[in-house]
Symmetry: D2
Subunit: 349 residues, 4 copies
Amino acid sequence: MIVAMQDQASDEAIQNVIERMVELGFNVHRTTGSVQTILAGVGTPSHFDVSEFKVLTGVHDAYRISSPYKLAGRSFRPEGTRITFPNGVVVGGEEVIIMAGPCSVENRDQILTSARQVAAAGAQFLRGGAFKPRSSPYSFQGLGLEGLKLLREVADETGLLVITEVMEISQIDVMLPYIDCFQVGARNMQNFNLLRELGYVRKPVLMKRGIAATIEEVLLSAEYILSGGNYDLMLCERGIRTFETYTRNTMDVSAIPVLKKLTHLPVFADPSHGVGIRDLVPPMALASVAAGADGLLMEMHPNPDKAMSDGAQSLRPEQLTELVKKLKQLAPVVGRTIAEGVTATAPAK
Amino acid sequence: MIVAMQDQASDEAIQNVIERMVELGFNVHRTTGSVQTILAGVGTPSHFDVSEFKVLTGVHDAYRISSPYKLAGRSFRPEGTRITFPNGVVVGGEEVIIMAGPCSVENRDQILTSARQVAAAGAQFLRGGAFKPRSSPYSFQGLGLEGLKLLREVADETGLLVITEVMEISQIDVMLPYIDCFQVGARNMQNFNLLRELGYVRKPVLMKRGIAATIEEVLLSAEYILSGGNYDLMLCERGIRTFETYTRNTMDVSAIPVLKKLTHLPVFADPSHGVGIRDLVPPMALASVAAGADGLLMEMHPNPDKAMSDGAQSLRPEQLTELVKKLKQLAPVVGRTIAEGVTATAPAK
Amino acid sequence: MIVAMQDQASDEAIQNVIERMVELGFNVHRTTGSVQTILAGVGTPSHFDVSEFKVLTGVHDAYRISSPYKLAGRSFRPEGTRITFPNGVVVGGEEVIIMAGPCSVENRDQILTSARQVAAAGAQFLRGGAFKPRSSPYSFQGLGLEGLKLLREVADETGLLVITEVMEISQIDVMLPYIDCFQVGARNMQNFNLLRELGYVRKPVLMKRGIAATIEEVLLSAEYILSGGNYDLMLCERGIRTFETYTRNTMDVSAIPVLKKLTHLPVFADPSHGVGIRDLVPPMALASVAAGADGLLMEMHPNPDKAMSDGAQSLRPEQLTELVKKLKQLAPVVGRTIAEGVTATAPAK
Amino acid sequence: MIVAMQDQASDEAIQNVIERMVELGFNVHRTTGSVQTILAGVGTPSHFDVSEFKVLTGVHDAYRISSPYKLAGRSFRPEGTRITFPNGVVVGGEEVIIMAGPCSVENRDQILTSARQVAAAGAQFLRGGAFKPRSSPYSFQGLGLEGLKLLREVADETGLLVITEVMEISQIDVMLPYIDCFQVGARNMQNFNLLRELGYVRKPVLMKRGIAATIEEVLLSAEYILSGGNYDLMLCERGIRTFETYTRNTMDVSAIPVLKKLTHLPVFADPSHGVGIRDLVPPMALASVAAGADGLLMEMHPNPDKAMSDGAQSLRPEQLTELVKKLKQLAPVVGRTIAEGVTATAPAK
């Protein structure tokens, strides 16, 4: 930490800041200029709050100079994290991964049709919500456990992996037998109790960026999961809230290369929530992979006009198929390939 | 809902939109102009998603014209909601309520001293966190149950009411015996499962606005609690995230009169989180009451420089005392008074 | 400036940064820790760009520790700036100043009626636009020179001072004979050529905060005017753009006490543009003065429903009168008074 | 326009709204439901302000249903606008255009070297600032006319076209002899007097999106230029201001496909200002073209570490060369090609 004192700050004020720094565990180096004194705190205590120093008497400003996260930082694992799934799919390698499916599991027919279309398009993961947090209490709230069972059944039939959203601690154990990957939604990115529990689980997690979360906050939240021992973590940009209302959110595509630089964790993009309008999803999916994304998470529905939730942003099946074709052409430009589609390993019924 | 068709939209497209509206339960009135057709849907189905209509073929734009919330709307209870606490304190009436205390309960001495100072300053509620969600996993995380017991003990000794933050469903029952009011933090304003459970409880709730929540989203979240049957709900503006970084957040003071107009629920302001800098709290507290707030929630610490969390934004005890004096002068300008301070009803030890 | 090197940065990288700092005119103090080196640059060159250092090889981060503005800083004139107008009105003293009037000068009748109502309510300044920058080319664009003449005429009749917006350099000389104060609108806060010219004029200026301007940028823009020698400058908070769309902008009331701390310049508030809805203007005006504003700038129209621009946010005459009464009660709470109303000194026609 | 009345609005209130609508030139169709009345105004008056209706007595909400811009709308020229430059370069066709060069023209050597490197990399336009608006009055302010002459000279030598920023009306005539395209910077996107004058010029204009401008505001500003008769207009996304501070701005990549849908004007992207960090420019340039951009505007400097402005975001020459190679591979994926590089047609000195 660096503390820059105000011009002509009193010796007493300087001494008080130094003492407070030493108390926290810093070694303090003092640079005295003709008008301004600067205090450099060397060594990083396990915890300190830089804003406390900003309001001490005589302080001009204070700067944290070390990252507040450690395990999530690129230097912890410079070669990058790779996550291997049971069927051999690897996230974080040269291959770009496709996750697609409806917002909600609505019924057996809908999810089975979805899974077949998603697999046919060449994706590796089936997404679909069983527990649906909706902003209105009067909206459809999901099928719950029944939805999980349907996801597993149709995934096994098609060879896909299952990713679904976990919203609270009590759902973790319920989900474990049915899924391949937990998804933490944007609204839970700072649900620290949930993150801590997911750190103790031995199943991969994909954590979405909160709607108003800075990149640093994304990495601090990642640290919660990593510090519990679960290193199979993926991050996902899905749009932030800005003044622009034409799109549902403003997709921060630059967060993808920024995160790739700051952390070793694989970085996904969710253009469906990023823009919220079906026809904008393909260009934004292409842009995301061009910018370095390790994978895409997208909504697709067999019949979006009849979807029980998020129909406006769900791709039609033929749009997904067309998009994956273009992605296959684009990926080599940035030194990547799109992962192979899956095939059912379990005997079809 | 209104659907404005594109100029020269085809009859087929218009017919398709009409059918979809009727399916949802609207009565549709059609206005055909020389170039543009407008469809007015009268009658409000229990649920519909206006964004689905925006992407239908031939649609220019679609507008929801009814509020998506019902119980939270002003017209549900035009006279305003009043909440009466066990010791006779009334929230939502002519009197403005003061809630103050430290960010976290740190130990018996600290919280007892805090309570005495808060009571002496003239407040009615003691605030203090027992379970602390922090953005870094390496920060102090609160005393838990022990903190709740300490809060109750010192509140009884001073006559104050207790408000503390609930972060997950499992904490509700743990907290019930010790507290007078649940606080839902900004990060949980869209934790819909938690909100739903709080709707079933018979204990008042103060819900903070999320850092990126629109005013409409605040009222939709309120609807979750109200629809469970718990009408003893207060809302609280505490700053939103904007591009300005000098302050911790940007306090949206105008949300206070806007909410007073849109809803019957009492509206509080939390200037401590709103600005994050101690010396800005008093002017923003005065501004909040001038703008119509029904109460204030503020952080005060006996020794902010040694606080384990949020020290930078905690008032010193003498600042709180001085502020309450000014508030007592200001309140009558807007037709209010500051509530009387409390006195211990339980025998002091 | 402080440059924090990355852990284990090479000697070559460190040397390169030191050389670049010395080149710019810094004296460099080096603190070498076991893993990290910190370079403190003492002495402030007239110009440097801290972002250039952030991208040099081996640099972790770089921090400007001095303010980039000098003349605008509080320490330049700790006692605060006072501006005295020809009729004796003083801005920046104990008295809070009221400026009011219609968005646009529409015709003689409208502006004369406005002036009389504004004076009767107790204000000191008449505002009104002669040159109107509008976001649509098809909207009313103002009366131009004719509007300026009307403003002067009715101001003389009522004893009010005139403030009106200047939009480009060529208008400065046209306006000088007719007005008492230039207003720089939010859209021109970074029109640096205009600001520079206004620095050479000897007539007060009120500069509004840009819709997306940080507080630091406001002060840098102020520096442009001050560095030309015009010290009669007032700043004005008028709302920033955020994700909230219920109000026209989000009024950053906390910018008022922040600016009062950082600069010696008087700070106004414009609640009309801040919220954009008539009935929200009075509570926000009260809040602004409670937070420390030196004056208010507000829109009032004799008949807002027929206004040619900004009718929705213009107060009705009786609302202004009522508001000034409340402001007179509120000001003493924060150690201020509302300035006396004016009386015509020129013989009335 | 649609006006939705409040439930049980009085007949008088409804009648008043209808009269006001008729006054403006609407034909009003009234839909009376059991609780709510809806008024549809058909026919679009040349000007009306929807916010005035929102505050009329008895009104629940009001919606503009026609675009406030006409000439800029896609339907005005569905096939898209193509702009042909003197040397045959066409913007808005199948070919993607590259504009590159330093932030400022610093001296003859620097701009000549830049031009050669830009041409060698395969670009068609040389960018460079002669008049530099800077946020600090103490920063380098540009070479002015001398800079324009240098730009023309080196462009002629290399065969490049010249684009440079115009900041005020008086500069238009000064610039005309030396340049091929005017650039309107983000800070001037709502300098309506400047836009109007540029509408009367017969030289192409590239207008950047303001830092806080909505997409609708971009198109309204475009309307100012188009309505003067200058149809050779290009738009440019260059980042908006959000809460994220890691990057200089947040580049709204989705604005590219949105604008392509809403308007016939060519859409550029400026990733240099969009992110502000050199190494993030190539991925964002690729993302922009993947999302449908018609061209790129980028900063490149022969020696960015010594640049007098914006060095941190300027590409090194070899980075530009490498990037253009990748762009040539990527463009065909989205049905485009990168335009051919230029060759000097004027005899080299």
